[in-house]
Amino acid sequence: MSTTETFEFNKDNLATYKEYLTRYDDVESALLPVLHLAQEQNGWLPDHVVSYISLLMSIPEIKIKEVISFYDMFYDVPVGRNIVQVCTNISCSMFGGREIYQGLLKHFDTGYLTPTRDGRISLQKMECLGACELAPCMRVNDDFVGNLDLTSAIQKLEELP
């Protein structure tokens, strides 16, 4: 428990948190949206964020850690500013999704989820992203980018801030 770093919601995140609570009949149901909110603010979900949320929503810490480690889109390791999820499922792998993923890894010289040296990009191997007509496709932060090949993918990622 790194006691040095602390985390709490900024003003409008706290407001959205309050609004989330009104949506559900109990507090626990709001855990996933709150974790999304915290991850947007902090980039990833380390222990001190977990203990803050655990205090805020009075949910045992181990339950929150379980949820974070269960889902693919919650990260308990530091990730880059931009998350790039490359689909490697059936329809996309037929059109070279895996070669694009390996190519991107080699090009940016990183591993699964480890950020590039300048902390810009984290590559993640994902299962079907539900955009099979754009095969092979990837998700850059929140939008789909389809009909890729290695060069267009690299070029797209170079433009990212």
């Binding site: 949506r23 009949d25 109990d26 626990e28 149901s29 709001a30 855990l31 996933l32 949206p33 974790l35 999304h36 949910i59 339950k63 379980e66 949820v67 269960f70 889902y71 693919d72 889109m73 919650f74 999820q85 490697t88 499922n89 059936i90 329809s91 792998s93 037929m94 994902m126 299962e127 079907c128 992203l129 539900g130 955009a131 099979c132 007509e133 095969a135 998700r139 929140d142 939008d143």
Partner: protein, 429 residues
């Protein structure tokens, strides 16, 4: 985004050709929310009867008759109940819900309001998968518009009926597409399926009665209520009436989502609706209903009619209607490898047969990479798959086992050849 011109007269995509139909004014000018207003004049029981009469079957994958499912629901209108829309859609090859909701969120909202009125649920959640962020934003905006118009919230249209609808984003887990897995996820826990019985209709979200329906099933309700059940039964067969959204991907010239009546032949779908095979290659195999559906070889693909009965008769299942077309250049071993890698990654790890079984199935292909696989591993795959089926809480183990056994039944020689050749040795620099 492909948009077939002749969709005007079908149920789900009838508004798709109108630009900007995601705005509520344009949707209403095109006739949206009319049926919802009429439905509020009707008795909820009448609506349930109509849906039951229409023979609409669940479009998520199991194909269970929606009307019958509604029948299990408690009749006590005062009890606290929930209506959940399953928009998790992580079945490989499936993107019909995204296509539907992206362009026309209001048809889903209208369908949910009518269903809520029929089932008397006070609260509804659209559980959308975490990766569909833009679609969640579109839905959120559409719901705000509906609230502004008074179609949601307290005392809808002066009928004294309240219904609150919210979007709830998942966070990337295929297992949350399973009914009880989604309920666990909505309860803020790991998306691990719950023991059945008790079924969600009796004891679901927070231990209260919960009705879970797929996006496509709920979106079909407005058309059924508008034109009546007999009109809906004109399409498809007696047992599988109505139209179905098919998401076609793979080696076709125009992959995308089409809406065709059920029991349209697969041949027509590929040749007519999707512009035939890509660069004219010969068809080798088709996965008819998403990755958990056993594969068809070329012969069966040309004979089969896409409805629940005929596909099942040929040994597969219609599932979510995700057609993946494979031409002769494709290698079936790779397809099975990717499928099993998917299930190994997505197994929630609760039940032992599935948690260890999916890992073991995939390990055969990991051994193949190192050239240590042997022809007897095909029997190992078959034996493991058969010992996984029917042993677990949810159907993911079966969804991993059936395609394996299907592939072995149909393409055994190719698999044996595939298993015996190690990965391409990187001799070239």
């Amino acid at each position: 985004m492909k948009d077939t011109a002749n969709n005007k007269d079908y149920a789900l995509l009838s508004y798709h050709h109108i630009p900007g139909v995601h705005k509520i004014e344009i949707f209403e000018r095109a006739g949206g929310y009319e049926t919802m207003k009429e439905c509020f004049k009707k008795e909820p029981e009448a609506i349930k009867e109509e849906v039951k009469a229409s023979g609409l079957r669940g479009r998520g994958g199991a194909g269970f008759a929606t009307g019958v499912k509604w029948g299990f629901f408690t009749k006590d209108r005062k009890a606290i109940k929930y209506l959940l829309c399953n928009a998790d859609e992580s079945e490989p090859g499936t993107f019909k819900d995204r296509f539907l909701v992206e362009r026309n969120p209001h048809i889903l909202i209208e369908g949910m309001i009518i269903s809520a009125w029929a089932l008397a649920t006070q609260k509804g959640y659209i559980y959308i998968r975490g990766e569909f962020y833009q679609q969640a934003v579109i839905l959120e905006r559409a719901i705000k518009e509906a609230y502004a118009k008074g179609y949601l919230g307290k005392n809808i249209l002066g009928s004294g009926f309240d219904f609150d609808l919210y979007v709830h984003r998942g966070a990337g887990a295929y297992i949350c597409g399973e009914e009880t897995g989604m309920i666990s996820s909505l309860e803020g826990k790991k998306g691990q399926p719950k023991l059945k019985p008790p079924f969600p209709a009796i004891k679901g979200y927070r231990g209260l009665p919960t009705m879970v329906n797929n996006v496509e099933s709920l979106a079909a309700i407005p058309w059924i209520m508008k034109y009546g059940a007999p009109a809906y039964k004109q399409w498809g067969t007696e047992k599988s009436p109505g139209t179905k959204l098919f998401s076609i991907s793979g080696d076709v010239n125009k992959p995308g989502v089409i809406e065709v009546p059920l029991s349209t032949s697969l041949k027509d779908i590929i040749e007519i609706h999707c512009g035939g095979m890509r660069n004219g290659n010969k068809l080798k195999a088709v996965i008819p209903g998403g990755s958990s559906a056993p594969i068809f070889n070329a012969a069966d693909s040309y004979l089969v009619k896409m409805d629940y009965e005929d596909v099942a008769a040929k040994g597969s299942m219609l599932g979510s209607g995700a057609i993946i077309v494979l031409d002769e250049t494709r290698n079936m071993g790779d397809v099975l490898k990717w499928t099993l890698e998917f299930y190994h990654h997505e197994s929630c790890g609760q039940c032992t047969p599935c948690r260890e079984g999916t890992g073991w199935l995939e390990s055969v292909f990991k051994r193949k990479e190192k050239g240590q696989a042997h022809i007897s591993d095909i029997d190992l795959l078959d034996k493991t798959a058969s010992s996984m089926r029917g042993q677990t809480i949810c159907a993911l183990a079966d969804a991993a086992a059936m395609p394996t056994q299907g592939m072995i039944k149909v393409f055994r020689e190719e698999l044996e050849a595939y298993v015996m050749t190690p990965a391409k040795v990187m001799t070239k620099k």
